[in-house]
Amino acid sequence: MVEENQAAEAHTLDRYGFIVSSDEHGPLRQPTRQSIEKEHERIQKWTWMLNHWQGFHHTRKFRQRVRKGIPEQFRGVVWQKLLASRVLYEHHELENPFKSVYSALLTQTNEEAAITIEKDITRTFPSHAMFRSDNTAGKDALEHNLNAFACYKPEVGYCQGMGFIDGVLLMYMSEKEAFWALRQIVVDRMPGIFNTGFPMLQVRFKQWNKLLSKREPAIFKALARHNIDASFYTTQWFMTLFIYAAPFEVAVRIFDCFCCEGVKIVFRVGLTYIAALKKTILKAPFEQVMVAIQRTPLTLELFESAIDLKLKSAEFALPDEGRKVMVR
């Protein structure tokens, strides 16, 4: 029995570092010869694009390639460039090695945040090699990042859900780089989502309801009839960008698009996901509807059919986001 347990401890990991036996992130595909060749081709294209970044990253072609998935080995670098966190990192951490902003933040404490953070560290990616109970490196980095952020922006502090985003960042970059990427996401890309009172989350709920009632009126009515509030199922989407529940290979693809195109991808994927459950939502009783919405896996196929869904930015733009779009 003991031996069996020890054998089980020598885990097989998938390409993302999750324990394979864990069903948490869904079944995994084995790469085929064809998919490997295709990946090599993509790597060459991406190497070229990284070398021609300035002239290329605003193009439609670039966006299309992001939608097809950033090659695994470039994800960390490309995310940082797209989030513009790389610049902050270089400025705050590298320019003066004796004055690291991040290191200074690590010497501070936000007492209230620290208590909640501590409880969440082992509950963030429990089946990932970096964050498992028997591995301290990833968990320490996560705890440091979240505590540093709570000191950096005390008005946001720590909110449950942030850890899932930071955890993904830490799988692809160093602790300091991840901190600045987290900063960009929470402060710049998702302003107000995590703040006390959830001001922006409430805005997103309204936008979601509006979009759903326009695009899928029958579903909207059925959900309303069941008293299924948007907050029940979209909270995870807007806070963790589907990282919380989606199979990991889909979650990183969504994250690629988020870094490039912003929150639009959340609406696209959400709408496609809900539309795929239409039959259940319209016909099944309340409990089956709830279970379907919460448990149906978000497949790669579903994600790929969501990418090109046409949405008007105005449908979910914030007043100042709208301006940004105009300026571009």
């Binding site: 909640t116 409880k119 008293n227 919380y244 459950l277």
Partner: protein
């Protein structure tokens, strides 16, 4: 089996509340699936599970809701309380701060839940007696003052989990079945048991089988 899943005489919506990390999600999984996850994720958004219980020959479906415990999440939980007839207010007996927050959770219930909601105080994690920070007597005292019942549980060992949920359901059942008699005699009925709240407690006799068994 199919019958026990789909037919019920009463449907009670119960909510799990309490600070982050006290074990709400594991109490839910222990009660509804007899499972305890050592490696569970923090709850974001809303989780939900059901279990049917027998009460005096009637089938009661307990529909139990679980949500994030962090204080700021209360900004979006008003819909969570809608129609709830029972609440398990959970604290961690090894973490005093989670017990000190019980009064704030009671206030939260007063503000958002039905005034007649049945509340049970639950001290979880009795599998760690060496770390206990709240004595049984003290918690019992608080429960008495607030007119709540009190149970100590371990979601990990399963100790008392069944008993606590069942007791809460029994409490609600006795009010509901009394209310049903009262409905007949058209006297006072607690608001959440009125027929127009029937979404939570159908009073029109044996409940329909879940209308569309065959989904998708």
């Amino acid at each position: 089996m199919a019958e026990s899943e789909e037919y019920y005489d009463y449907l009670f919506k119960l909510v799990l509340i309490g600070d982050s990390g006290v074990g709400k999600s594991n109490l839910l999984s222990r009660f509804t699936r007899n499972e305890f996850l050592y490696e569970s994720k923090s709850t974001i958004g809303v989780e939900f599970a059901t279990r049917n219980l027998k009460m005096e020959g009637k089938t009661v479906k307990a529909q139990i809701w679980d949500t994030a415990g962090q204080e700021r999440y209360r900004a979006i939980t008003s819909a969570y309380y809608r129609g709830a007839v029972g609440a398990l207010l959970v604290f961690d007996i090894t973490k005093r701060a989670t017990y000190d927050n019980v009064d704030r959770w009671l206030k939260e219930l007063r503000e958002h839940a039905d005034p007649d909601i049945a509340i049970m105080l639950v001290g979880n994690k009795t599998d760690q007696p060496h770390l206990r920070g709240v004595s049984t007597a003290e918690a019992q005292q608080k429960a008495r003052e607030a007119k709540l019942s009190y149970f100590e549980t371990s979601a990990l060992s399963g100790d008392n989990v069944e008993a606590s949920f069942t007791e809460l359901v029994k409490e609600i059942y006795s009010i509901a079945s009394r209310a049903q008699i009262d409905v007949a005699g058209s006297s006072w009925v607690p608001t959440q048991f009125r027929p127009d709240h029937a979404e939570s407690v159908p009073l029109g006799g044996p409940a329909k089988p879940a209308s569309n068994g065959g989904c998708c």
